[in-house]
């Protein structure tokens, strides 16, 4: 996973609230291997017409947004399904951070797992950022993870919260399993107690469903 420290980049404003996972990537592309490039499926139904032709007026097809690496969106971004393809499509497009007043239930945790930084700021601040981007298309935003700040095009700074453990993992590009392995003793003790006290939870009878 690519570490995240500081990013200064063009940001795209999306005013629509509740941009859902079906908008981010339609279900029919979720059977493709990652190697085909999930960026091609991002916002597919908004970006391409029924014949598969690019809609030139879609914001990501216009300069200067083609090289955007930050999304600034309405509330509840990425609501809907658990599909991680909705994160792969965004990261494969080159985006490293999404700033929103809130995220869908799975989107933020899926983002952390893939090096995409979800930044939550108050609704009024996110709205102000979007307005600045509309009035000055191509304006850059800086996100500094060590100091937990977002700097808008006008120089205004906004502080954001992030759990220390998430921050550590993003800064170092660490995967969760390597952290969990440090807790192996606790895991062993937990499982020993569980297997003794609630033996049916070991699910041995499910062996009949294992393919020979």
């Amino acid at each position: 996973m690519e570490p995240f420290t500081r990013l200064t980049a063009v940001a795209v404003p999306f005013d629509t609230p509740d941009i859902d996972t079906d908008m981010l990537i339609p279900q029919r592309f979720l059977r493709k291997p990652l190697t085909v490039g999930y960026r091609n499926f991002l916002f597919f139904n908004d970006r391409f017409d029924a014949a598969g032709k690019e809609k030139p007026d879609f914001i990501l097809h216009r300069e200067p947004y083609k090289k955007a690496r930050i999304f600034v969106t309405g509330p509840n971004f990425g609501c809907g399904s658990t599909r991680e393809g909705a994160v792969y499509a965004v990261t494969d497009f080159g985006v490293r951070a999404v700033i929103a007043p809130s995220f869908g239930a799975f989107y933020a945790s899926n983002s952390y797992q893939n090096g995409l930084l979800p930044v939550v700021l108050p609704d009024a601040d996110v709205r102000k950022l979007r307005e600045q981007m509309h009035s000055k298309p191509g304006a850059e935003i800086t996100i500094d993870l060590p100091s937990q700040t977002v700097t808008g095009p006008d120089g205004a700074q906004y502080k954001f919260d992030i759990e220390p453990s998430r921050k550590e993992r993003m800064l170092e590009g660490l995967d969760d399993i390597s952290i969990t392995e440090r807790y192996e003793d606790a895991m062993k003790a937990f499982e020993k107690k569980l297997d003794a006290e609630m033996p049916w939870m070991a699910a041995k009878e499910l062996e009949v469903l294992v393919q020979k």
């Binding site: 005013d15 859902d20 059977r31 139904n45 945790s109 399993i177 937990f190 393919q211």
Partner: protein
């Protein structure tokens, strides 16, 4: 005396393996369900050369990509190579990692994972259950903390049998009173979502309580918990009671004999203590709930069938106005028109929300002696549900009414198996989600209960089932 705890606190406390100072906990996962979707998790495990810690605590079930027609044709009968690959890939991954597996050929057990899990006794009160599927919340009906996670977290669960999680807050939704005639669990959850909003459960686990919940059957509780995620809740819970225990006893993978007695004692200790606190409380009166439908493109665009389509000019905020305008345009509706004048081109009865035996009984009750006027299909929630329905003669009622009677899969709820309405069609659907393009490109979804779906099928428009002649 110990501090009173709510049910979620009790389940949580039993599963914390390690607690970090920053609030994140490593919680133990009792059962992890896998469908064809999160194949990335297996690929990532292989890439990292990691083993599966407890294979028997996983279960792979094929549901999203199975065809609903020509099942006898087997794998070779699936024409689309990519869809066939998804089905084969899950079977292969399950074999390679020695996971319990229920696929197309298991004609005894196959079905939608959120139907099969409870029906086989794989879901038990007090468990922590994960799956790469947002509607994993269904299992909360049995008093399990059950929630969706992404493919990377699935990989983590497979490798470690645990998950890093920040303890969610709790919201108790109490529905007291009594439901009116013809009002179903689907109407109850749509009314709850309309009340608290599509983000109303964000960061919370909902415990559904009150007289209406207590009176519900297990299948009805599953419909309610299923759509918890449509209000952005992490999970839904219903306290286990005699209805729960009666439902579970004797199921294929439920504990038996002395272990049943031991389990029962633990389960009976789970319901919230009398003075337990919740972070938030919401109350609804059951007798106020009317048959609900969604007119728009998010689940909280839900209104009683007697209502009118909202007007963007009366929106409370700019965001709401933007949403209403886009939704009206997408759905092809006019502000202010009566909901009961919305035409439908197609009807789908199926999905993890509303394709259980009782749902089919309710649908058949309305379908009996009537004829559909638009293409309408039924995909039962599992092969077992299909068998039971046929044994009760329901299939004959549906076929006589003009419904297509198909096999069990996620089907037209999400279309991953290729079951799509035609582009631009309006579809009255018993499924849980009505986003733009969810059921296929340009398809306009109206979420309804099974009885209301039949009412729409026989009239060609959204119709109050109570007024059917």
């Amino acid at each position: 005396m110990n501090k009173p705890r709510n049910m979620f606190d009790k389940i949580w406390d039993r599963h914390v393996v390690a607690q970090r100072d920053d609030g994140e906990a490593l919680i133990y996962v009792d059962r992890n369900f896998v469908h064809e979707g999160p194949f990335y998790a297996f690929d990532k495990l292989r890439l990292a050369k990691r083993a599966m810690r407890r294979p028997l605590k996983q279960i792979a079930i094929s549901d999203h990509y199975l065809p609903t027609l020509n099942r006898a044709g087997g794998l070779a009968g699936i024409k689309d190579a990519e869809i066939r690959n998804m089905v084969e890939q899950l079977q292969r991954n399950a074999r390679d990692f020695k996971l319990p597996f229920i696929g197309m050929e298991d004609t005894e057990r196959q079905g939608i994972m959120h139907v099969v899990g409870p029906d086989l006794g794989l879901v038990q009160p007090g468990m922590v259950i994960t799956a790469a599927d947002s509607h994993t919340t269904t299992n909360g009906a049995l008093g399990a903390f059950s929630f969706g996670i992404g493919a990377s977290e699935i990989k983590h669960v497979m490798a470690t049998q645990a998950l890093w999680y920040r303890k969610p807050k709790t919201l108790r939704v109490t529905i007291d009173g009594k439901l009116g005639a013809g009002i179903t669990a689907k109407d109850v959850i749509l009314a709850i979502i309309a009340k608290i909003g599509i983000s109303g459960g964000n960061g919370h686990v909902i415990e559904y309580a009150g007289a209406v919940m207590r009176a519900m059957t297990m299948e009805q509780r599953m419909t309610v918990c299923n759509m918890s995620i449509e209000a952005a809740a992490r999970a839904g819970l219903v306290a286990p009671d005699d209805t729960t225990y009666k439902f579970l006893e004797g199921r294929e993978f439920a504990p038996r004999g002395a272990q049943w007695d031991q389990a029962l004692k633990i389960w009976q200790s789970l319901p919230s203590d009398a003075d337990a606190k919740f972070d938030k409380e919401v109350a609804l009166n059951g007798s106020d709930i009317a048959p609900m439908v969604t007119w728009g493109t998010v689940p909280d665009d839900a209104l009683p069938i007697t209502g009118r389509v909202p007007d963007p000019a009366q929106a409370a905020s700019k965001e709401e106005r933007v949403h209403l305008e886009r939704a009206l345009q997408y759905m092809g509706l006019t502000a202010g028109m009566p909901i009961s004048e919305i035409k439908v081109d197609r009807v789908f009865i199926g999905s993890c929300t509303n394709a259980r035996f009782e749902d089919l009984v309710a649908a058949a009750h309305v379908a009996k002696g009537r004829k559909v006027v638009v293409p309408s299909m039924i995909s039962p929630g599992s092969t077992e549900v299909k068998r039971r329905a046929e044994a009760a003669g329901l299939d004959k009622i549906f076929v006589a009414a003009g419904f297509e009677w198909r096999d069990s899969a996620c089907s037209m709820c999400v279309g991953s198996n290729g079951d799509f309405p035609a582009p631009g069609e309006s579809c009255a659907s018993t499924s849980p989600r009505n986003f733009e393009n969810r059921q296929g490109r340009g398809v306009r979804t109206h979420l309804v209960s099974p009885a209301m779906a039949v009412a729409a099928a026989v009239t060609g428009k959204l119709t109050d089932v109570r007024t059917l002649k």
